[in-house]
Homo-oligomer: 290 residues x 2
């Protein structure tokens, strides 16, 4: 089901943004800040258990926008692949139990003995083919997320929206979609065209800001609050909405310095950055358009 | 003119690889190591002057595969753009004088006030339109080089081979081409298709190896000797040759640790890495193919 274009832009707090803090504290602090949606991570949900997570969601009124993250399939074969597939199925069960409409799927990188992206795409497509009926039964959408090209060898052979669409094209739209992360894809000169082509395949949308240099480890944790980096989110978000997606927008940040801040500060700066650079900028842009 | 597919693979030493050493020393040491081609940088040529560079090339028998680098146009307008265009024209003169068949053109990033890649592409195309007759008169090909998506905001809005081809499509093939750098583009799932589509547009090809994490400053200087990172060069190089390019292949490395090594060590490791991971691996691959 696509959303109507006049829906207000709503923030969802992805739990990675407050990683050092327990889920209970994050949920309570999010509610205090007026946030209505949360992106859950598997490990902290498992840490407190499904029942307590469900209770917490009830108590706070937070809806779950996504469960992150699973996959890492494209580099695996044999027993290692079977084990990874079982992990995705358990994550689909968990996603259903916490009421998430989707589960983020990370493709996986390249094995040392075969650096062919084409071969890895074949393995990934076969893995999704096995997972798709399970996702359908669970009522949870698999959302393939392109990562930044930096991580092609180590984490995700899927690095563009166009490539993700090509890989999932033959699977049913309602069970296999796409998670678009502005941090990972805003460099792409085809962003706007590919987002429009993705249309109802868009299962979710995440924002965080980009600036060089990217610190270690593995250049993973340089994500910034919206407005603290180089990305202009309004035109990107306008295309996402024009393509039909007007669900919650997750702020997902990995950053060792931000993780050292008090929980309240992280959440307040998330809300402030989102309001200024995503929702207000988008409103401004849409007012200017004919 | 395209080369025949049976040409041997020849190494060219890009001068960035030995950046701390003067051009004279680099050229003499390259000759000692049996290298027949060199990629020159503008500043070290200017440091010793055109006449002395020409003499050095005569004395060593080195041919010039490219002059690096110029451009940084896409983010500029007005007087700043005029000054950058004049810089490219001076670099075209210098390239002609040292006998280089091409000059590397870096697109430039995004200005702070307008993060639209589409707008920047329009500015870049207009700039190339102004430069193209000058390049034709100089007999030097402008070679647009896609950089890694990391640098879209700061150095190059051109991040894929397909995008570069789209930008230069309307310019004459013999004056505006493409420089393909394996480090910058091997993450791209369309690499092989786009290289074949590029065909005679390919003006040059560079290699250096990639591994995470990328060190500072600005994550620029993490390039490694072929074989010390994650890239499998043989299939990439096979596609480059299948597309019709069999000119010299430059090894271009930026790496603060490598720059601390003795000149002889840098050059010997360049030759060894190139032989093992580019030429011998390619021969092996081509023997295996039907």
């Amino acid at each position: 089901m696509t959303h109507v274009g006049t829906d207000p832009v709503e923030l969802s707090l992805n739990q990675a943004t407050t990683r050092p803090y327990p889920l209970t504290k994050t949920a309570e602090e999010a509610m205090r800040a007026g946030i209505r949606h949360i992106g859950l991570w598997i490990e902290p949900v498992e840490a407190i258990g499904i029942a307590r997570t469900q209770q917490l969601l009830n108590d706070t009124g937070l809806s779950v926008s996504s469960v992150c993250r699973t996959g890492f399939l494209a580099d695996k074969e044999g027993a290692e692949l079977r084990s990874a597939l079982d992990g995705v199925k358990r994550a689909l069960d968990l996603s259903r139990e916490v009421g998430s409409p989707m589960l983020t799927l990370i493709a996986g990188g390249l094995p040392a003995h075969d650096r062919s992206i084409q071969h890895a795409e074949v393995r990934l497509r076969a893995a999704i083919e096995e997972l798709e009926p399970y996702a359908r039964d669970a009522g949870v959408r698999l959302a393939l997320e392109p990562l930044h090209p930096l991580f092609v060898g180590t984490r995700s052979i899927v690095t563009t929206i166009a490539q993700a669409l090509r890989i999932i094209a033959d699977f049913p739209e309602d069970t296999v979609g796409l998670l678009i992360d502005a941090y990972a894809t805003s460099w792409d000169s085809r962003f706007h065209d590919d987002v429009l082509a993705a249309g109802p395949r868009i299962a979710g949308y995440q924002v965080s800001d980009f600036a060089l240099p990217l610190p270690g480890p593995e250049n993973m944790n340089g994500r910034l609050f919206p407005g603290d980096g180089d990305i202009d989110f309004a035109p990107l978000t306008a295309s996402i909405r024009r393509a039909g997606y007007t669900g919650p927008i997750e702020v997902e940040i990995f950053n060792d310095d931000i993780w050292k801040l008090p929980l309240e500060t992280i959440i307040d700066r998330t809300v402030a950055g989102f309001n200024r650079c995503v929702s207000e900028s988008l409103n401004e842009l849409e007012r200017q358009s004919p």
